[in-house]
């Protein structure tokens, strides 16, 4: 019950952690990236527009200052040509000074088409000369300009840029007045056609619906693509963008007024940037509908968001896979442990992750192997012990039977056959066994009882006339100790080698029958497999040999050799 629950828990935990890490980092980075790229894009747009505004401001300033330079140029030229310290020209005596200036003015009208009219005012502000493209020229008209702003400003500041006015209600004009410091305080006033500035402004294209315009120091609209706006003489000094521009102009040097969100001239929300022309106290504005700016940014944002979503989807996929990969070996480990726990000791856990999990699995497998081995050893031991116990019981039983045979019958032959039968059976000697009796007189070992011995071999045994020290039988007797031939093939000096091998016998164990150190016979068992006989077999044979000795001792003498022989033969078959 708790198994699958626990398993699922780990998977979900891993998934949550990985997802949180991967997805969280991705989302965070995208958000940060988005924020910065948004800011950057906005900044780029703003910077681009400010650049346009600055360029326009520069061109306008260039134009206006070039006008001023022209006027100044004609003034200094005339001043240089006029005799030094020329007397103040009187209204009546116009004289050559004005004739010369008249020529200069005419030349300038020819060279600078933007200048419509040139006027010279004397130190009292009276018009001395007026030359125009359109109006009639006037010499010494004496018109009083002493109260006019162009005269006053030029007198005090040596330079004046007047407000924009329109001639014929169609084209913007401006007065530029200049006074030369080193000459008599006279002033030249030029009426300049500002269409060139207009072109700068009206040709400025900003995005789809952006536009540019120029506002003067008093907040009045000077130039706008739509002339009618200019002609309405609109006062914009209270709009936030113009206020910002003027504030910026007074603050000087502080060049970080970036942009203003405000209502545009045509009502909608706009993003406005500006560039000041400090010289003229004019400001060039570029406005672009906010909606348009946002639209251009929106595609970028959508792209980022789409990429992020894709990334998130991928990270979810990757998280699931990763979590599964992390959980799978743990599950296999768990499963393996469970199987081993159920007793499947030959089960091995197969994990090839190349990490600690694999090491853990290997350790577990090793432990399982150990467990399996120790269990197997235990079984073997138990088996061995059981076998040993069984054999002991059999031996006891056999000895008992032999004992019973010895005590129940006085027939030696029967007893000896019983003994050899038990010996062969218990020792599992597959090539049978023989009990010899030693005939001290002839010094020959006579086979007395055989069990599982072929008749042919019994005959050979009779004929062999084995003596003390000969063959395994003679040797054990000579040594008064059990003697065994583990491999008959190797006993090359033995007389019995050939017959034994012929019978298929490979190993022989002989135990002497001793009575008070006197040899009375031998007990021999034969096996068809080469190898040592185990000590327990030797012990068993020794026990049986002593029973045989007892039987032979108790037997009535003299014994009938021939009868015993035939009986043994019948038994062996």
């Amino acid at each position: 019950m708790s198994g699958p629950q626990a398993r699922g828990g780990l998977f979900w935990k891993y998934l949550a952690v990985i997802l949180f890490l991967v997805g969280g980092v991705l989302a965070l980075s995208t958000a940060v990236d988005l924020y910065f790229s948004y800011e950057e894009a906005k900044e780029n747009i703003i910077e681009l527009e400010r650049e346009k505004a600055r360029a326009a401001a520069y061109r306008i300033e260039q134009f206006v200052t070039s006008m001023e330079r022209e006027v100044r140029g004609v003034m200094s030229a005339s001043a240089a040509e006029a005799p030094a310290g020329a007397p103040q020209p009187e209204a009546s005596g116009a004289g050559g000074v004005y004739e010369q200036r008249y020529m200069d003015f005419l030349r300038m009208l020819r060279n600078v088409p933007a200048i419509i009219t040139l006027r010279q005012l004397d130190s009292d502000g009276a018009e001395r000369l007026s030359v125009s493209v359109v109006e009639l020229d006037a010499l010494n008209s004496g018109k009083d300009h002493s109260k006019s702003p162009e005269f006053l400003a030029a007198q005090s500041e040596k330079r004046y840029f007047g407000p924009v006015f329109s001639r014929d209600e169609s084209e913007p004009h401006m007065l530029v007045a200049v006074a030369l410091p080193e000459t008599a305080p006279e002033v030249i006033v030029a009426e300049v056609n500002l269409k060139a500035i207009w072109d700068v402004v009206s040709r400025l294209r900003v995005g789809k619906a952006g536009y540019a315009y120029v506002v003067d120091g008093n907040g009045r609209l000077i130039a706008h693509p739509d002339l009618s706006m200019v002609l309405q003489n609109r006062d914009l000094s209270n709009t936030p963008q113009v206020k910002a521009a003027h504030l910026d102009a007074t603050a000087e040097a502080k060049d970080d007024a970036p942009f203003i969100m405000a209502k545009g001239l045509d009502g909608g929300e706009v993003l406005a940037v500006f560039a000041n022309i400090p010289h003229l106290r004019w400001s060039v504005f570029i406005e672009r509908p906010l909606a348009e700016v946002v639209t251009s940014l929106r595609t970028q944002i959508w792209r980022s968001v789409a990429l992020m979503l894709l990334g998130l989807a991928l990270s979810v996929l990757a998280s699931v896979m990763l979590a599964r990969r992390m959980v799978a070996p743990i599950r296999r480990l768990q499963e393996g442990a469970a199987r081993v726990g159920r007793g499947e000791l030959d089960h091995r856990i197969d994990i090839r992750t190349g990490d600690e999990l694999q090491a853990l699995a290997d350790e577990f497998n090793h432990a399982t192997t150990q467990l399996q081995d120790s269990q197997r050893n235990l079984e073997q031991k138990v088996e061995a012990r059981t076998e040993a116990l069984t054999r002991s019981l059999e031996e006891v039983h056999a000895l008992g039977e032999v004992g019973r045979a010895v005590s129940s019958t006085l027939d030696l032959q029967t007893v000896l056959v019983t003994i050899i039968t038990q010996a062969v059976e218990l020792s599992q000697a597959d090539a049978g066994g023989t009990i010899y009796e030693f005939d001290e007189a002839s010094g020959v070992f006579e086979p007395r009882a055989n069990y599982r011995v072929s008749d042919a071999y019994v005959r050979i045994l009779h004929e062999s006339q084995i003596r003390l020290g000969e063959s395994a039988v003679g040797k054990c007797a000579a040594r008064r100790a059990p003697y065994q031939v583990p491999d008959v093939e190797k006993e090359e000096d033995s007389r019995m080698r050939g017959p034994l091998l012929h019978e298929g016998v490979r190993a022989v164990l002989a135990v002497p029958l001793l009575r008070e150190e006197r040899v009375i016979g031998a007990l021999v068992i034969r096996r068809k497999v080469a190898g040592e006989f185990s000590p327990s077999v030797v012990t068993l044979l020794q026990a049986l040999s002593s029973q045989s000795v007892l039987a032979i001792q108790n037997a009535p003498v003299p014994r009938d050799r021939g009868r015993r022989e035939s009986s043994s033969r019948s038994r062996a078959s």
Partner: protein
């Protein structure tokens, strides 16, 4: 692997979308400009000026604009017919030079934008409602004839020392010159010049008037060339005449003061370009001609035994030798 190819696919998609967006921009088209004037050849200076101006603004003939030029060689009625023709042809804009061509175009269409040049007084001649707000479907360049008429008198006076009497001869139907009359009178009285105004309505009256012009009289040529009055002045009148354009000086007139035809064409190109790119003509104020030229023919001056004073030479943009 899957992730990488997916990202790649997405990027590819974005690129394709971008390309598609770029493709979706308005396709390039060739604007057809109908040109209407009463000239004797296709290469009228205003047309040449227009082509030059548009070229400077990036509208190249053949690639961006095509011109359908109708010049009517002064044949009566041909201008109106040509105007109808252009309107029917469905050109994108009609470019006219001079007052009759402009009026013909104006009556031919109320929808196709018209940009005019060489119209002396667009308001007086009812071409537009006002300079600032032209109204209707047209705007253009005013050659400032009315405004410049007194100035012509002044220039003539500068040229001819001791000028006492000036003839102002124009056709009765010519509203441009009629509009200038008051200011010309005022200037004449200021210069203490006797002004003889002759409104002629037939060739006979014209020739009678011209015959009366004395050798030391000046003549103020009209801006509008109904009956070819300026040409007749040039041919018949004995006294020096001042003309409204340098064209006449090149053809033997002694002096002229007024806007250059070609310059007007160049100037109008800005209006044309704005309209082709979507502006409405009624939103574009009529502009006054930018460049006012003073042209003088020294050869003719010598023949008339006139010594051209420095003031004229200094101001002169065009000097014919």
């Amino acid at each position: 692997m899957i992730a990488r190819s997916a990202v790649l696919a997405l990027l590819l998609l974005a690129a394709v979308a971008d390309a598609a967006a770029a493709e979706a921009q308005p396709e390039h088209r060739v604007y057809r400009i109908g040109v209407l004037n009463e000239a004797w050849a296709a290469n009228h200076p205003t047309v040449e000026g227009l082509k030059e101006g548009l070229r400077e603004l990036g509208l190249v003939e053949g690639r961006d604009v095509a011109y359908e030029i109708r010049y009517t060689k002064g044949v009566p009625g041909a201008t109106a017919a040509a105007a109808e023709e252009l309107a029917k042809a469905g050109v994108d804009l009609i470019f006219t030079s001079n007052e009759p061509a402009t009026l013909a175009a104006k009556s031919a269409t109320q929808s196709i934008p018209i940009v005019f040049t060489l119209v002396g007084d667009p308001v007086a001649t009812r071409v537009v409602d006002s300079l600032a707000r032209p109204g209707g479907n047209l705007t253009g360049i005013s050659s400032r004839a009315t405004e410049l008429a007194p100035k012509r008198l002044e220039v003539l006076k500068s040229l001819v020392t001791g000028l006492k009497r000036v003839w102002f001869i124009y056709h009765g139907s010519d509203s441009t010159d009629t509009a200038a009359l008051a200011s010309v009178r005022e200037a004449a009285s200021r210069f203490q010049i006797e002004l003889i105004v002759r409104e002629v309505n037939d060739l006979g009256a014209l020739f009678i008037a011209l015959k009366e012009v004395r050798r030391d009289d000046g003549v103020l040529a009209p801006v509008v060339d109904t009956f070819d009055i300026p040409a007749k002045i040039l041919d018949v009148a004995r006294g020096p005449g001042i003309f409204p354009s340098a064209l006449w000086v090149e053809n033997g007139a002694v002096i002229s003061y007024g806007p250059d035809f070609r310059a007007q064409g160049v100037q109008s190109a800005r209006l044309v370009a704005k309209i082709l790119r979507g502006a409405r003509p009624q939103d574009l104020p009529v502009e006054g001609a930018d460049r006012i030229d003073l042209a003088v023919n020294l050869n003719t001056a010598r023949q008339l035994a006139l010594r051209v004073p420095p003031r004229i030479l200094v101001r002169a943009n065009v000097v014919q030798r």
